[in-house]
Structure formats: structure tokens, C-alpha cells
């Protein structure tokens, strides 16, 4: 009798209050821990995004411009149609444009006949226009298939960035710290040749994620980032302005007249 009674009562009564409380406590602790982990993961993601964002688009755009500029070609080109930098302002922001002919392969294939082809030499340009949605500028890369009579116009535009605050190009005709910057180059097709260097400044305003807590190791509160590059055009390019090679079709003679020693001028 003494044994049976408490056993039967325990079997009927389910959990005791203490058991339920302890269970609640444990479940609560687990929930809090999971929430904190999720929150920490979200904050980490945002922080990493904010840290990395300043080094994603800007340097990539600058690399693209520099790569194109270093591929600038002037072989068999009229000397007043090599490079054009126009000083423009759109909605109160600097929106210079840059156009030239470069040996970068086409990014955008063009349909000719039934084939999609890319060209080795293209018209390349960088243009901005006011963004239709907000006060920013949109940066586009212009690429014209091959080279035509108007190397600074036409072509296909590839979208690069839509939060541009400032795109300024300064042109220098001499080396050294005392050189005077020019805002434009060959704007109306009068200047001949090439400048020695271009200083390109691009300002982007980046969109931060929700978490704005700052890390001491990287000041990520800086949302407006300026990217600056100086591209000194290669010396051999400048030199070849003076030594213009002219393509000449060699004088071919029939095989039976090859006996003449000096007919093949190489």
C-alpha cells in the first residue's frame, strides 16, 4: 500500500511544476541563443558587405578605363581623331566624357549577317547621363564595332554604375608637378596628337546595408568614396606619333621575274 499510492499518483499527474519550469528555462535559453546567432550572422553579413562594397565597383571601373587607355591605338589614324575628352556638367555634377579607339576586344558581340562577331579594334568611350530615378549619374561604357568615320559617336552602351556623383578627367600635356591641367582635349577636333597623362577621378556614393555599426579596423561609415588614377600614356605610343608608319601594299612581281635582287623591299 505504501508503495502503490505514490506510484499511481505520479503516473497520473504528468510533469511537476519544477520540471515544466526547468524545461521552459532551457527552451528559452536555446531560443535566445539561436536568435542571437541569427542576429550576429545578419550583422556580419551587412558589415562585410559594407566593408567590401567600397572596393568592388570603383576599382573595377578604374581598371577597365585604364586597360582601355593603355590599349589606345593610333596606327593609321588621323592625328586629330585619337582622343577626345569633353568637359561636361549634368545636373550640377561633373560628367566628363572620354572617347578614343582602343585595341580591346569587343565586349558586346555584333551580329553581322548570320554570325555574331567581335572586333579587335573598337571605338571606346565613357559617358554619363543623369539617372532617371534620383540625383545620381549613370556611367556607361560606349563601344562601337570597329572604327568608322565618326570614332567618337555611335556604338552600344554598356551600363557600369548608377550611383556616380562625379566623374572628372584632367589632361596634362607635360610631365612633372608644374604641368597645367586641361579640362578638355580635342573637344572640337582641333588639337592633334595625344596628351601625356590623364588624371581620372570617380566619386561613387554607396548604399549602406542596415547595420551601420562601425568597425575600428576599417572605417566603413565613409559612404562617398573617391577613386583616383593617373594614367601616363606609354612612351612608345607618344613616340610613334612622330614616326607614323604608313601601311603600303608591297609591290609583288610574278614568280618568273624574281631574279631581280632588289624587288622585295622589306
Amino acid at each position: 500500500m505504501r508503495c502503490a499510492l505514490p506510484l499511481r499518483r505520479a503516473a497520473r499527474a504528468g510533469f511537476s511544476l519544477v520540471e515544466v519550469l526547468v524545461t521552459l528555462l532551457i527552451v528559452g535559453a536555446i531560443m535566445v541563443a539561436i536568435t542571437q546567432i541569427l542576429e550576429a550572422a545578419r550583422i556580419s553579413r551587412d558589415t562585410i558587405h559594407n566593408i567590401q562594397e567600397t572596393q568592388l565597383a570603383g576599382p573595377a571601373i578604374m581598371d577597365l578605363i585604364e586597360r582601355d587607355l593603355r590599349a589606345l591605338v593610333l596606327y593609321d589614324r588621323p592625328s586629330n581623331e585619337l582622343l577626345r575628352v569633353v568637359d561636361r556638367v549634368a545636373v550640377g555634377l561633373d560628367a566628363d566624357s572620354l572617347d578614343f579607339v582602343a585595341t580591346t576586344d569587343s565586349v558586346v558581340p555584333t551580329e553581322i549577317g548570320y554570325r555574331w562577331v567581335r572586333c579587335d579594334v573598337n571605338e571606346v568611350g565613357y559617358r554619363l547621363r543623369p539617372s532617371p530615378d534620383d540625383d545620381f549619374l549613370e556611367l556607361y561604357r560606349r563601344e562601337g564595332f570597329g572604327v568608322d568615320e565618326e570614332p567618337f559617336e555611335g556604338g552600344a552602351f554598356t551600363f557600369l554604375h548608377d550611383r556616380v556623383k562625379h566623374f572628372d578627367i584632367k589632361v596634362f600635356t607635360e610631365d612633372g608637378p608644374d604641368a597645367d591641367p586641361l579640362d578638355a582635349w580635342n573637344e572640337v577636333g582641333e588639337e592633334e596628337g595625344l596628351p601625356l597623362r590623364l588624371q581620372i577621378e570617380l566619386t561613387l556614393e554607396l548604399a549602406p546595408r542596415i547595420a551601420r555599426e562601425q568597425l575600428v579596423i576599417a572605417p566603413i561609415d565613409k559612404r562617398t568614396v573617391v577613386y583616383r588614377r593617373i594614367v601616363r600614356l606609354p612612351q612608345h605610343l607618344i613616340d610613334s606619333l612622330e614616326l607614323t608608319p604608313v601601311p603600303v601594299v608591297p609591290l609583288l612581281t610574278p614568280p618568273d621575274q624574281v631574279a631581280g635582287p632588289d624587288s622585295s623591299g622589306g
Binding site: 508503495c3 610631365d175 579596423i217
Partner: protein, 185 residues
């Protein structure tokens, strides 16, 4: 009272099992938090490296276009990027076969002795003109944890571009030296 232990053993976990489970889960959570933190630090380090590359490219462009023409004669240019808005980033550029200064926290290295030796060796060293001159730029930035805190870029420039011919060859004749070797690139 006898059935109590057997029924308890059949119904639930023992205290030891629960304790082990909690310990394992706790370790996993701690490890996860550490991983998140490490991801943040790595991201900050990557950002520093990419920014250093960007700044080093800017400096190379500046050297290439003669903005440091006065300092180039010393074969060594030093400065910070405070103008660009990154005062914690500094750079050191060396021309030719010069070496970078050793890190300041290297106690085994005698900086002053090195300096004097370098000056002595520079005095009797005659710079032979080459087609190209090597320029190295080292950008240093505050380290994140114990990750590497510097980036070195190297670029070769035509010799006349770094050492303008008007100083070296003013006496001989006024004609500029022909661009030698630069057409091959």
C-alpha cells in the same frame, strides 16, 4: 521504490547525456560566433589590401608622370595617403635595385648602419643607363590581427621617363635621345 530507477532509465536521458549535449551545442555556437568574427576580420583585411593596390597604382601613375621628379634622385620616396583621405596608409617607393627599409619593429637590424652603408655604396656606384628602370611601391597599412599589412607592386618604366635626359646629357647636344628599346613592348 524499486521500479523508480528502471522506469527513469527507460524514459529519459541521464544527466551526463544532457550535459554532453549542451556542451557540444555550446561549443558549436561559440565556434560559429568566432567564424563570423573571423569573416569580418578577413573582409576588413581584403578591403585594406584592395585599397592598398588602388593607392599603389595611383602612386605608380604619379611617379610615371614625373610628379615626384625631385625625390626620384634619392631613389626613395616616402609619404602617406592623408591627401586621399586614408592617413593610416603610407607608402615607400624605391627606384632600381634599392631595398625597402626594414620594418621598424625588427630589433636585430641596425637602421643607422644600414643607412650609412647604403650612402657609402651609392657614392662609388655609377648608375648605368638601362632601357628600363624598375620601380617598386610598398604600401603599408595598420594590420588586422596578425595578417600581412603591406602590399608591394612593381612596374618598369622607360629610363628617360624617370631620369629626364636634359640633366644627364645637357652638355653633349640638345637633341633628345632616341627612344631605345621602348618600341619592343
Amino acid at each position: 521504490m524499486r521500479p523508480a530507477p528502471s522506469s527513469a532509465g527507460a524514459r529519459g536521458f541521464t544527466l551526463a547525456e544532457v550535459a554532453v549535449t549542451i556542451a557540444v551545442v555550446g561549443l558549436a555556437l561559440v565556434w560559429m560566433l568566432q567564424a563570423l568574427n573571423a569573416a569580418k576580420l578577413t573582409a576588413a583585411h581584403t578591403r585594406n589590401l584592395k585599397l592598398a593596390r588602388e593607392l599603389a597604382l595611383l602612386t605608380l601613375g604619379q611617379i610615371e608622370s614625373g610628379l615626384y621628379s625631385e625625390e626620384i634622385e634619392d631613389d626613395r620616396i616616402e609619404g602617406t595617403y592623408a591627401e586621399e583621405g586614408y592617413p593610416e596608409f603610407g607608402f615607400e617607393a624605391v627606384i632600381g635595385d634599392e631595398n625597402f627599409r626594414p620594418a621598424e619593429d625588427d630589433p636585430a637590424f641596425d637602421n643607422w648602419l644600414d643607412e650609412r652603408q647604403r650612402e657609402e655604396s651609392e657614392q662609388d656606384e655609377v648608375e648605368v643607363e638601362q632601357p628600363y628602370e624598375k620601380v617598386q611601391v610598398r604600401v603599408t597599412f595598420p594590420p588586422v590581427v596578425d595578417l600581412q599589412s603591406e602590399l608591394v607592386l612593381e612596374r618598369w618604366f622607360p629610363w628617360e621617363q624617370l631620369h629626364p635626359p636634359e640633366e644627364a646629357e645637357q652638355g653633349t647636344d640638345g637633341t633628345p635621345t632616341p627612344p631605345q628599346g621602348s618600341g619592343g613592348t
